[in-house]
Every structure is written in C-alpha cells, then in structure tokens.
Amino acid sequence: MEEFMTAAILVIGIAFRMATPFLFASLGEMFSQRSGVFNLGVEGIMMMGAFSAFYVVLRWESVLLGVLLALLVGAIMGLLMAITSVTFRAAQGIAGIGFYMLGWGLSGALFRLLVGGVTTIPSMPIQRIPLLSDIPFIGTVFFHHNIFVYVAYLLVPVAWWVLFKTRWGLKVRSVGHTPEAADSLGISVARIRYQCVILGSMMAGLAGAFLSVGHSYIFADAMTAGRGFIAVALVYFARWSPWRVLMGAFLFSMAYSFQLYIQVLGIDFPYEFALIIPYLTVIIVLALSFGRVWSPAALGKPFVRE
C-alpha cells in the first residue's frame, strides 16, 4: 500500500508538472480558434521553441533569454501562419501540416548543424512556495516545481479574464463567431486574427521552451512527441473554455504519465501499449464529445468581405 501511495504521489506530481506544455499551447490555441483560425502548426512551432531556448541556454546559460528567443521564434512562425491562413486564405489544416514539417525539419537541421549530438544543459532550480510546500503529499505534488509550472497555471485565470472580461476578448469572440457582424461594427477581422494567431504561436514556442529547458534539459529530434497536436485536440475537448483546458491538460498529462506509473510499479505490460494511451485517449475523448459541442461558428473559415 505504501509503495502504491509513493508511486501515486510521484506520478500525480509529474502529471501536474507535465500539464505545463499543454496549458501553454492549448490556451494559446484557444485564442487562435476563438478568433476563427485553426492553427495546426503548434507541433512544429513547439519544436522550434524547444530548440531555440535549448540553444540559448547551452551557449549563454540564460533561461530568460532562451524563453525570449522561443517567444520571438513563435511570433515569427505565427506571423507566417497568419499570412497564409488569413491573408491568403489557405486551407488551414494543410497549412498546419506545412508548419509541422517546417518546424520539424528546421529544428532537426539546426540541432545537427549547431550542436551535433546529445548535450545536457543545467537543470532549473525548484521554487518552493513557503509554507504550502511543507504540507505532506500536497506540498510535494503541487508546490515543488520550477517557475514555468506556476506561470502556466496562473495563465488559466488570466486567459479567462482576457477572453471574457476585456474589450479585446469580446472582439476575439465576435470575430470568430460572427465575423460579418464584427466587420460591420468596424472591427478589423484580419487584425484580430493576426493578433490571436501570433499570440497562440508565441505560447506554443513557450510550451516548447518548457520541454527543453524546463523539463528534460536536452534537445532531441521530434522531442515534442505529438504534444502540439494533442494541445490542438485538447481545445476541442475543452469547448474553447480556459477552465476546461485546465481539466483537459491534466487528463492528457495523466495519460502521458501512465507509462511511468507502470514502470514504477513494475507491472508487466508492453511498454509500446503504454505509450499509445495518450493518443488513444484523444480519439476516445473526441468521439465522446460528439453532438454536444458548441464551436466558434467561423472556425477554419477565411473571412471575405462581401
């Protein structure tokens, strides 16, 4: 029983931490989709963010500069995504695959060219929250992480406030749901969509930065392992609501941690099948949410003024 509890605390703690990239990427993607743009490029942008931050930390040992570069790279890729999908009205799903291949190929090529082989970078300090981190179990699970993790969870209420309590958030929602009405009220549909796609892509860059400099302390080809695509699916599951993004991020993070749980407890279960669990969860969850889904009405549809 004690062994089981120790394993459970370990796995829940890791799941809590590993929800971080989903939170960053999904909250960003939520803004993009709320404005009407389906940005499937998240996976590729995450890879580029992961490499940029990793390289800066490796060369100049500054996590802050690394994060800034990841945000900048995310913004540049977001601008490109906005140009293709808003201005040139490209099919957004296919454009996303283009960004996936661009980010995958470029981060892999840059890594081989500038770094070469597996290199580790210093790990980030754990920030204990005074008093709270001393609570048995709960302290270890929730208040024993690096700064990325706390920021990610804090962004959930921030995203909610921005989306539902600010004028800009209202514009975002109207542009994604009834672009014609928004346009007739003098809101620039294209400008809001550009802003949202760039914001979402910067968050994807941040999610990637967490993976390399805040979690595994290495860079490896395709290290995001589909987390960017899952982050996009998670937004559907969350029905475009920040609070449900929080739930979904934890659910999918648990699915990723499950294989760890199996290893810790030494259960005899094929490793490959444990790795399948997060992706299978996505499919099942998407199928189950069938029929009761509200969605931004203009999602994926380029806006053309009549």
Binding site: F88, A90, I94, I97, M101, G105, G108, E272, I283
Partner: protein, 368 residues
C-alpha cells in the same frame, strides 16, 4: 472555352513551379542564416541525383512509395477528407504484408506477390477507414484522428517487429535488432536495372495512377466521391450517401499508403525494418498537392520529391548540411501551394493586387 481551360492549365503549372522556387529561395535564406553557402548546398541538392545513373535510379526508387501514398491522398482530398495518416497506414501495410509473405512462404511468386499486395492494401485501408468512420459517425476531425493514429501505429508496428514478428536469427544471436525475418525470394519484386535498387514497384505506381484517374473521372463512384468533396450538403441533397463515401475515401487512401508499405518491404528492404515509413506519409501529401491533386500529376511530382530526398542525403555527405533541411523545404512547398490556391480560384484577386500599382481607373471604365 477551349483556350480558357488551356490558359488555366498553364497558370496552374506556373503557380506550382513558383511554389517550389519560392520554397527553395526561402530555404536558401535559411541556409545563409545558418552560415552555409546556399549555392554549394543547392548545387548538390538539385543536380546531384541527376549526375549519375545511381542517383537517378535511387530517386525513382524513392518515388515509388511517394507516388502510391500521393495517389491515396489525391482520392481523399478530392473527396473532401484530409488524410494526414499516411505514415501510420503505410506501417500497417508493411507489417501485414511482411507477415503474410513469411506465413505463406511456400507459395510461388505469381500468387504470393498479389496476396501480399492485397493484404497490405486491406490492412492500410482498414486503418484509414477507422478515421473515416470516426468522422462519419462521431464528427471527429479526420485531421486530428489520423495524426493520433500515426503515433499509435508507430508503437504498434514497433511492438510487432520487436515481439511476435521478430527475426528468429536476432533472438538466436541475442542482437535484438527490431526487424522481421527476410521474406522469401519468391515475394521479391523484379529489379528493373541490375546493380540498382530500382524495382517494378515503379510500374505498379504508374499503372495505378492511370487507374485512379479513370476511377475518379470516368466512373459513377468516382464522380460521387468528387461531388462529396465539392460540398457535402449539395451532395447529400442530390441523394448521395455522404457518410459512406467518406469512409470509402479513407479506406482507399489508407489502402494506397498500405500498398506503399508492402512495396517497400518486398521491393527494397526485403523485410519490415525500424524506420521504414521514413516520412513518406507526409511527403506524400506534398507530392499530392504539388501534383495539383491530379493522379497523373502525382507521378512527376513523386519523382521530383524522390530526387529531392536523394539530393538531401547527398548534400549531407558533401557539404555536411543536414538532410532534415529537405523536410523543412517540403513544409515550405506546402505553404506556398496552399497559399497560392487563392490566386487560382479567385483570379480577380490578382487583378486587384495588380491594380494597386496602376493609377485608379476613371469612374465607369471597365478594364480587365
């Protein structure tokens, strides 16, 4: 009317070639930023495969899976379904093809080869049909489900070639390389040129391209699939069972990718190995888009991108520029092709753009 469609065809060709040139130019900028001389890298990348018969046959060999996957993508995209799952469907086809070839090793080649090909088509097709069914029954985005099925099938494939299907020799010598046993000689596809890897899969690909063209444009089923692709509501209004054709489109798309998998097994590697898919599932999308979603366009597009893959490997050896850059260039090609579509279908936008550079015409005048 005739000259109009001719002009449209020319514009398509022009815009498509421009997409490749644009992607290569952006790629050159990236190379320059990375401190590599773009001219040196591109000389090897673009001319390397055409300088020797080895390079060219290797490009054709790489083109075979690209053409097959690309044909499936054409069918699905024309039916309004975005199949991103080529990679996974290819692996399912490869492993089932290898398993059948090993299980029925006594059969003579003329029977064994068709059995292997059909099995892999069915396996890839069923894997694809899952996504089609999820879309038709539960409105699950096929983009997301096929991507997830890719990750699932990679693990399933690795489980099979590490476990139940592992080469007994690997177990015997304790080396444990994850791969199946060598398929019987009778299952091998004929080598087209001695001393190269080029095999008769290329002929299969070209013949199937013609068949897909006839299927999509000359049969009722093909017409209905394209009608679904043109717009599900109007297709449904005219009495077409939209859900059925969605599943069928995904089945056929998956089937072609599965076929690519077994052709790689019995044509090139002689067994199911780790890393067999090699990104063909994604490059197949580039090939289909670059071939303007036309089965006959897929063949030259497949050869072009096959050459680009071979050129990338040569570039890596000659100027130490990682071959992964070719993946990035392919991504850029996709972006250029999908961005330029708006120019093809909305010619007035070109006019509008051009008119910015002209003086504003006087009111009432009707130009271009």
């Amino acid at each position: 009317m005739k000259s109009d469609s001719n002009r449209l065809w020319l514009i398509q060709l022009f815009v498509t070639l421009f997409s490749l040139i644009g992607a290569l130019l952006l790629g050159a900028v990236l190379l320059w930023i990375m401190g590599v001389n773009p001219f040196d890298a591109y000389r090897v990348l673009l001319t390397g495969p055409f300088r020797s018969s080895f390079g060219f046959t290797e490009a054709l060999t790489r083109a075979v899976p690209l053409i097959l996957v690309g044909l499936g993508i054409v069918i699905s995209f024309r039916s309004g379904i975005l199949n991103i799952g080529g990679e996974g469907q290819l692996l399912m086809g490869a492993v089932s093809g290898a398993a059948v070839a090993l299980a029925l090793a006594e059969l003579p080649g003329p029977i064994l080869i068709p059995v292997v090909l059909i099995t892999s088509f069915l396996a890839g097709g069923m894997w694809g049909a899952i996504a089609g069914w999820l879309r038709a029954r539960f409105s699950v985005s096929e983009i997301l489900s096929t991507i997830m099925l890719n990750y699932i099938s990679i693990q399933l494939y690795l489980f099979l070639i590490r476990g139940p299907l592992i080469d007994p020799q690997q177990v015997l010598f304790g080396t444990g390389v994850p791969q199946t046993a060598r398929v019987p000689d009778a299952a091998f596809l004929t080598t087209l040129m001695q001393g190269t890897r080029l095999h008769s899969g290329l002929i299969i690909g070209i013949v199937l391209a013609v068949i897909v063209f006839i299927f999509l444009w000359k049969t009722t089923v093909g017409f209905k699939m394209r009608a679904v692709g043109a717009g599900p509501p109007s297709a449904r209004y005219s009495g077409i069972n939209v859900e059925f054709f969605m599943v069928l489109a995904m089945f056929l798309a998956g089937g072609f990718a599965g076929l690519a998998g077994s052709v790689e097994v019995i044509g090139v590697h002689r067994r199911a190995i780790e890393g067999l898919a090699a990104g063909y599932g994604f490059t197949g999308i580039v090939v289909a888009l670059f071939g303007r979603l036309h089965p006959l366009g897929v063949v030259p597009a497949g050869i072009l991108f096959g050459a680009l893959i071979v050129g990338g490997d040569m570039m890596q050896r000659a100027v130490q520029m990682p071959a992964a850059l070719v993946t990035a260039i392919q991504g850029l090609v996709i972006l250029f092709v999908v961005s330029s579509n708006v120019l093809l279908y909305k010619p007035e936008l070109i006019m509008k753009f051009l008119s910015r550079f002209k003086r504003v015409p006087a009111p009432g005048s009707e130009e271009g």
